[in-house]
C-alpha cells in the first residue's frame, strides 16, 4: 500500500467557551491516499467541519488542537510534516493553503467576497502561489474557469459574485480552489446549498477534475447520496468521534454501528424496495457540554445491550474485518479473520 497523502492520528480539537469545553474533534484518526475520495459523514455539529478546519489550521479563536498529529506529505518531499505542530499564522501553512491543500465551502454567495471580481479573487491565489505577473495570472484564470465549465470565461472575469447564478458561483469557487493544482481538495458540503440538478453537475465536474488533476478529495457532507456517488471510502462521525469507517460499498450494504444503520434507514434509496416506513433516529444530538460518558450514542441507540456501553473509558475503535472499523460494544468479540 502506498504512502497516504494525509494521515490524521488521534486528533483532538477542543473549544474553550465560558460555558465549558466542547470536544469538537475527539480522538479522530483518518487517512487519505493520493487521488482517492474519502467521505466524512455525520449530522450537523458532529465535528466533521472542525476536522477540516483543523487540517487547514483555520480554527476560530476559541478552539485549539490539543493533541494528535496531522501528517501531510508535501509535493516532492519524502517525509510528511505534522500540520498540527505548524505555526497557524506562519509562512509554512500559508504556503500550503490554496496551493497544496485547498478548500471549497458550502455557500458560495457568502464564501466569496462581494466587493471583488471573481477574476481578482481567483487570480490572487495564482499570483500568490505561482509567483507570476497579473497578466499571466489573468490568463491562467481564464483557463481554469473554462475547465470548470464557464462559457465566455474572459468576459466573466470582471463580474461580481452576485451577478452569477448559484451553480456558476460554486464553479467559480471550485476554480479558485483548483487554480494551483492542489494534491488535496477539502470539500465541505459542496452541493448542499444548490438545486438538485445543479448538484449532479457539480459532482460530475468534481469527479472529472479529480481524474484530470489526480487529486485526493476529503468530502464532508451529511448527504448519503453524495457519498454513494463520489466516495470510495467513508468515515461516519458522531459527537466528535469516528464510529464507523470502511469502504463505501461495505458500509452501505452492511452497516454495523447502530448510528450508521439509523442513518441509512432514515434515507430513502431509489431502487430499494421500502420495508415499512422510514425510521428516524429517536431523540436528538445531546448537549455538547454534557456528553454522556461511554458511548455518546447510547441514549438514542436501539440496540443497547450491555453495561459496557456506559464504561467511562470510552469504547475503542476496532477493526472487525479488513479495512472496516467500528466503535461499538456489540462487536467486542469480533476479530478480523
Amino acid at each position: 500500500m502506498s504512502q497516504p497523502l494525509l494521515e490524521i492520528r488521534n486528533l483532538r480539537t477542543h473549544f474553550f467557551t465560558p460555558d465549558g469545553i466542547v470536544r469538537a474533534v475527539d480522538d479522530v484518526s483518518l487517512e487519505i491516499q493520493p487521488g482517492e475520495t474519502l467521505g466524512l459523514v455525520g449530522e450537523s455539529g458532529c465535528g466533521k467541519s472542525m476536522t477540516a478546519y483543523s487540517i487547514m489550521r483555520l480554527l476560530p479563536r476559541s478552539a485549539r488542537i490539543v493533541g494528535g498529529q496531522i501528517l501531510f506529505r508535501r509535493r516532492g518531499q519524502t517525509e510528511p510534516i505534522d500540520l498540527a505542530r505548524v505555526d497557524p499564522g506562519g509562512d509554512l501553512i500559508r504556503d500550503i493553503r490554496g496551493n497544496e491543500i485547498a478548500m471549497v465551502f458550502q455557500e458560495p454567495m457568502t464564501s466569496l467576497s462581494p466587493v471583488h471580481t471573481i477574476g481578482d479573487q481567483i487570480g490572487e491565489a495564482i499570483q500568490l502561489h505561482q509567483g507570476v505577473s497579473r497578466a499571466v495570472a489573468r490568463e491562467r484564470t481564464v483557463e481554469i474557469l473554462e475547465r470548470v465549465g464557464f462559457a465566455a470565461a474572459r468576459q466573466r472575469l470582471d463580474q461580481y459574485p452576485h451577478q452569477l447564478s448559484g451553480g456558476l458561483r460554486q464553479r467559480a469557487m471550485i476554480a479558485m480552489a483548483l487554480s494551483c493544482h492542489p494534491s488535496l481538495l477539502i470539500a465541505d458540503e459542496p452541493t448542499t446549498a444548490l438545486d438538485v440538478t445543479i448538484q449532479a453537475q457539480i459532482l460530475e465536474l468534481m469527479k472529472d477534475l479529480q481524474q484530470q488533476f489526480h487529486m485526493a478529495i476529503l468530502l464532508i457532507t451529511h448527504n448519503l447520496g453524495v457519498i454513494a456517488e463520489m466516495a470510495s471510502r467513508v468515515a461516519v462521525m458522531y459527537m466528535g468521534k469516528i464510529v464507523e469507517s470502511g469502504d463505501t460499498r461495505t458500509i452501505f450494504h452492511r452497516p454495523l454501528h447502530p448510528y450508521t444503520v439509523g442513518l441509512l434507514r432514515s434515507t430513502p434509496r431509489p431502487g430499494v424496495r421500502a420495508e415499512g416506513d422510514l425510521t428516524p433516529i429517536p431523540g436528538s444530538v445531546p448537549d455538547p457540554f454534557a456528553v454522556p460518558s461511554g458511548c455518546a450514542f447510547y441514549p438514542r441507540c436501539r440496540a443497547r445491550t450491555r453495561p459496557s456501553c456506559r464504561s467511562p473509558e470510552g469504547i475503542p475503535l476496532r477493526e472487525v474485518e479488513p479495512g472496516h472499523f467500528v466503535r461499538c460494544t456489540l462487536y467486542d468479540d469480533a476479530r478480523p479473520g
Binding site: 476560530p60 490554496g98 467576497s113 466587493v115 491565489a125 500568490l128 451577478q163
Partner: protein, 327 residues
C-alpha cells in the same frame, strides 16, 4: 451612476419645497413678530411706541400682509438669489451670513476629515486586537466620547483654557487678522484657531465611528469569505485590509451620512459656546427676535447642507459597493 445622481437631485426638490414651508411655519409659530420684539426692546430702554408707528413699521417690513403672501415673497426672492432682509441688522441677509455659512461648512468638513483619519486605524486596531489592554482603553474613551456632547466638551475646553492657559479663546482669527486680506499667514491663523473646535466637534463622532468600525469588523471577520481568503494562503494583513476592511467600510459610509446632521448641529451650538462665527449665534438671536428672513435663510441653508451631504454620502456608497451600483 449619472442617472442615479440625477434621480436623487430631482427627488430633493419637492422635499426642499416642503421643507421651506415647514421652516417658515416654524419661524412664524411664535405669536409675536419682529415689531413686537422691537417694542419690547424699546420698552426696556424706557421709550414707548404708539400704535401708529408700529403699524407703519409693520407696513414697511411687509408684516401686515397675510402669512402666505409673506412666504411667497420670501420664496420668490430666494429664486432670484435674494435671501431677504434682516430687520435686526438692517442689512440684506445674503452678505450677512455669507462668511458664517462658509465657516460652518469649513468646520464641519474639517471635523469629518478628522473623524475618518483618526477613527479608521483605531477601529481596525481595536477589532484585530480584541480584548487587549489598548482595546479596552479605547473602548472606554469611546464611551466617554459618546457621553460628553459637543457643547459640553466646548465648555470643558473653555474651562481648561481659562484656568491653565489664561487666554481668551473664541473667534477664528487673532485680533486684526479678520479684516486683513487673504494670505498664507491668514490661512495659517485660521487653521490654528480651527484646530481645537475641529477636534471638539469631531470627538463625539470619532468615538462612535470607532465603535461601529470595531463592531462591523468583528462581525465581518466571523464571516465565511474571510475564512476563504485565509484558506487561499493570504497573509493576515492582506485578509484584513483587502477583504475585511473593504466590506466594513460600506456601512461606515452610511454612518458618515448620519453624522452630517450632528456635525452641522454641533457646529451651530459650538459657535455659540465658543463664540465662533458659525451660523449658530446668529440663528439663536434671529429665532428669538423673530427676524424671519434671517432665521429662515439660515435654516434653509442648514437643510440644503444636510441634503447635499447625504447625497455625497450616497454617491460614495454606490461607488464603493458594486451591489448597489448595479441595481
Amino acid at each position: 451612476m449619472l442617472a442615479y445622481i440625477i434621480r436623487r437631485l430631482a427627488a430633493m426638490i419637492p422635499t426642499l419645497i416642503i421643507a421651506s414651508m415647514l421652516i417658515f411655519a416654524i419661524i412664524r409659530l411664535p405669536p409675536a413678530d419682529f415689531v413686537t420684539t422691537l417694542v419690547a426692546q424699546a420698552a426696556q430702554s424706557g421709550s414707548s411706541s404708539d400704535q401708529a408707528s408700529m403699524a407703519a413699521l409693520r407696513h414697511q417690513y411687509g408684516l401686515d400682509q397675510p402669512l402666505y403672501v409673506q412666504y411667497l415673497r420670501w420664496i420668490g426672492g430666494l429664486l432670484h438669489g435674494d435671501l431677504g432682509y434682516s430687520f435686526e441688522w438692517q442689512r440684506p441677509v445674503g452678505p450677512l451670513i455669507q462668511a458664517q455659512l462658509l465657516y460652518t461648512v469649513l468646520l464641519s468638513l474639517a471635523s469629518m476629515v478628522f473623524m475618518w483619519v483618526i477613527a479608521l486605524p483605531i477601529g481596525i486596531y481595536s477589532a484585530t486586537h480584541q480584548y487587549s489592554l489598548l482595546d479596552h482603553l479605547l473602548t472606554l474613551i469611546g464611551f466617554l466620547g459618546l457621553s460628553v456632547p459637543d457643547f459640553m466638551l466646548g465648555l470643558i475646553y473653555l474651562f481648561i483654557s481659562a484656568f491653565y492657559f489664561h487666554q481668551p479663546v473664541g473667534g477664528l482669527f487673532s485680533p486684526g487678522m479678520e479684516s486683513a486680506p487673504w494670505s498664507l499667514a491668514k490661512a495659517l491663523d485660521l487653521f490654528n484657531h480651527l484646530i481645537w473646535p475641529t477636534i471638539i466637534l469631531g470627538l463625539g463622532g470619532t468615538a462612535q465611528l470607532i465603535r461601529i468600525m470595531r463592531a462591523n469588523l468583528l462581525d465581518i471577520l466571523g464571516q465565511q469569505f474571510i475564512t476563504t481568503a485565509r484558506a487561499k494562503g493570504l497573509r493576515e494583513a492582506v485578509v484584513i485590509n483587502k477583504y475585511a476592511v473593504r466590506v466594513a467600510i460600506n456601512p461606515l459610509i452610511s454612518v458618515m451620512g448620519m453624522q452630517i446632521p450632528n456635525l452641522i448641529s454641533g457646529a451651530t451650538i459650538l459657535g455659540i459656546v465658543l463664540s465662533i462665527p458659525t451660523v449658530g449665534p446668529l440663528l439663536l438671536r434671529a429665532l428669538i427676535d423673530v427676524d424671519m428672513y434671517l432665521a429662515g435663510s439660515i435654516l434653509l441653508f442648514a437643510v440644503i447642507l444636510l441634503m447635499v451631504g447625504n447625497l455625497i454620502a450616497d454617491i460614495c456608497l454606490a461607488w464603493v459597493d458594486p451591489r448597489i451600483r448595479y441595481e
